[in-house]
């Protein structure tokens, strides 16, 4: 690691620790005192992150924090966005368990890259559905941000809608770290799976001609099948509009 990286890391960890308090406040409001203590004790323990211990804490949150209102969904206002690596963490409609899980992940110290990556990857490998959602939603907060590209791409391939949603929607990681091919797959897949396209972070900044062409092909395919075309598709195609695209847009609008 060079000097500028070190400097960057320091500034970020200051911002990071300020945000800890913010999340802590939100969590503490919703769980009872015993559970809160259980959580804090465990967070202390993972200052020395033994893989088995981290896995146990991460997995058993719903078993140990039982006072959670299952119908409670948490959103943070824009200005409350939290994160490290200069990537804000967008909390929109999260269950409290998901928020606690991500908060626990934020406490895992960086140590050496290989050990850190191995530990987080192990959690992915054994993750159940809700754990996977939390793990992918947490992409912006992991240390060594560049190390999670393949993991992110793999998650987009998931057949579990909730997992894809956690990556595609309200998540700053993909637009910052995916190459063009992977980014385009994300956007195309989001159209295929009826995601809320306008909530994909970085949609306009990462828009590109190849993507626009693929979207026009897709629009033609939908048209042939007599299926409807999401209007958001034309917004992405607009900057690269050619005659072929224009013909179809005219026919379908």
């Amino acid at each position: 690691m060079n000097d500028s990286d070190n400097h960057l890391k320091d500034t970020l960890s200051i911002a990071h620790s300020e945000h800890f308090g913010l999340i802590a406040n939100r969590i503490e409001q919703h769980i009872n005192g015993t559970e809160w203590k259980w959580l804090l004790n465990n967070l202390n323990d993972i200052a020395d992150p033994q893989p088995q211990l981290v896995a146990r804490i991460f997995t058993t949150i719903p078993r140990n924090i039982r006072s959670i209102d299952k119908d409670l969904y948490i959103s943070f206002a824009e200005e409350e966005n939290i994160g490290r690596n200069q990537l804000p963490l967008l909390v929109k409609d999260w269950t409290l368990v998901r928020l606690i899980r991500v908060w626990v992940l934020m406490h895992i110290p960086a140590r050496d890259q290989a050990g850190y990556v191995r530990l987080i990857e192990q959690l992915f490998k054994y993750g159940e559905m809700e754990e996977l959602v939390a793990l992918y939603a947490a992409l912006p907060i992991y240390h060594y941000p560049a190390a999670w590209r393949l993991r992110c791409v793999e998650g987009i391939r998931s057949n579990i809608g909730a997992v894809r949603h956690a990556i595609m929607i309200h998540n700053h990681y993909p637009s910052q770290f995916l190459d063009e091919g992977a980014w385009n797959q994300l956007v195309l897949k989001a159209f295929f799976t009826d995601e809320d396209i306008h909530n994909i972070v970085g949609l306009k900044q990462r828009n590109n001609e190849k993507l626009a062409q693929a979207l026009v092909d897709y629009a033609y395919e939908l048209h042939a099948a007599k299926r409807s075309i999401n209007p958001m598709l034309w917004i992405l195609v607009a900057p690269f509009m050619d005659a072929r695209a224009y013909r179809l847009m005219e026919q379908t609008s």
Binding site: A55, R63, K70, N159
Partner: protein, 326 residues
């Protein structure tokens, strides 16, 4: 896990038309079904028939696994993909995790599986250790059955016990004796695949008695009706154990319908087709009545902001009666 005997159709009893209207309004819980082997058509039919929740025990997938990774991926699918798949049809999916008796006989692999199990048994929605027990009743089967009873005790989870097809009566007694020897409370143990020959002892010893309604090889549901008439509904539950064999994912609602027709009280039907299974497996702390009543917020389909395609139970329907596919 069965061999089909050729049976004369004439000996298979009278055909009774499928009248699920008889059980309209009832809710069903199938506490033993292997959905990894079933199609989306089954999920839709189950949801239509009133099945609101299932338990999928880890089992033998039809051919032996040869490596630890296929075990891990299988367990992962039970707590991941399969859980999501069920949610798309408005069905709550729980599972039990364990090393089945057949594969316990591959000792080298069984050792590795035992190391893997603690990573899975504490997961959300894992309501027991299962299905474990005896198949050929070998020493290796006994060894891993015992080890897994200890695991269940440590994790505070119920146990779902598969009883053997061959030498069943003895195998069932032996399974219970060993559980008691390990200090398990019989109320935490569900003895599965019972017959007329085993039920008395299972109930007398304080265990839960589960019955698998499975054509040709296990219980038929006319026999099941007789059992409920004879023994009453306490600590008895019905399941389909539907899998890759010729089996019936609607076995629970169909059995309930047959019970209605046979004059069994509605309250008793609710107990054996829903409440008893909830009571037995809720001891895991991973399942309760409120969870089954909760209307899944859009969250399950994870479709926010007005997009309703994947709302629970609202999967788009294909028209199976049309040759046109669109």
């Amino acid at each position: 896990m069965c061999n089909y005997n050729d049976r004369d159709g004439a000996l298979m009893g009278q055909r009774v038309a499928l009248e699920l209207d008889l059980v309209k309004g009832l809710r069903f819980f199938d506490p033993h079904i292997h959905m990894v082997s079933r199609t989306t058509d089954d999920y839709q039919a189950m949801a239509d028939a009133g099945v609101v929740a299932v338990i999928e025990p880890a089992f033998w997938v039809g051919q032996p696994r040869t490596g630890i990774d296929t075990f891990r991926d299988y367990y992962s699918s039970l707590i991941g993909w399969e859980r999501f798949r069920a949610s798309q049809f408005g069905i709550k999916h729980f599972c039990t995790i364990g090393l089945n008796s057949r594969e316990a006989n591959n000792e080298a692999l069984a050792e590795e599986v035992m190391e893997l199990l603690p990573f899975f048994v504490y997961k959300e929605g894992v309501v027991g250790v299962g299905e474990i027990g005896f198949d050929d009743q070998t020493p290796a089967e006994e060894k891993y059955y015992r080890l897994q009873l200890e695991l269940a005790k440590e994790a505070g989870l119920p146990v779902q016990v598969h009883t053997p097809h061959r030498d069943k009566t003895k195998g069932t007694s032996r399974s219970m004796d060993i559980a008691i020897e390990h200090g398990l409370d019989p109320a935490m143990v569900i003895i599965d695949h019972n017959t007329e020959e085993t039920v008395r002892e299972v109930l007398d010893k304080g265990f839960w008695a589960a019955f698998t309604i499975y054509p040709f090889t296990k219980m038929g549901n006319e026999r099941m009706v007789q059992i409920v008439k004879e023994y009453g509904p306490e600590r008895i539950m019905v399941n389909s154990a539907a899998d890759w064999g010729i089996s019936d994912p609607l076995a629970v609602p169909k059995t309930a319908a047959l019970m209605v027709k046979s004059g069994i009280a509605r309250e008793a039907i609710e107990m054996v087709c829903y409440k008893n299974a909830v009571a037995a497996f809720s001891q895991s702390g991973q399942l309760d009545e409120a969870m089954l009543n909760a209307k899944d917020r859009i969250d399950q389909g994870k479709k926010f902001e007005g997009n309703s395609i994947l709302r629970g139970g609202q999967q788009p329907r294909r028209d199976a009666d049309s040759i046109v596919i669109s």
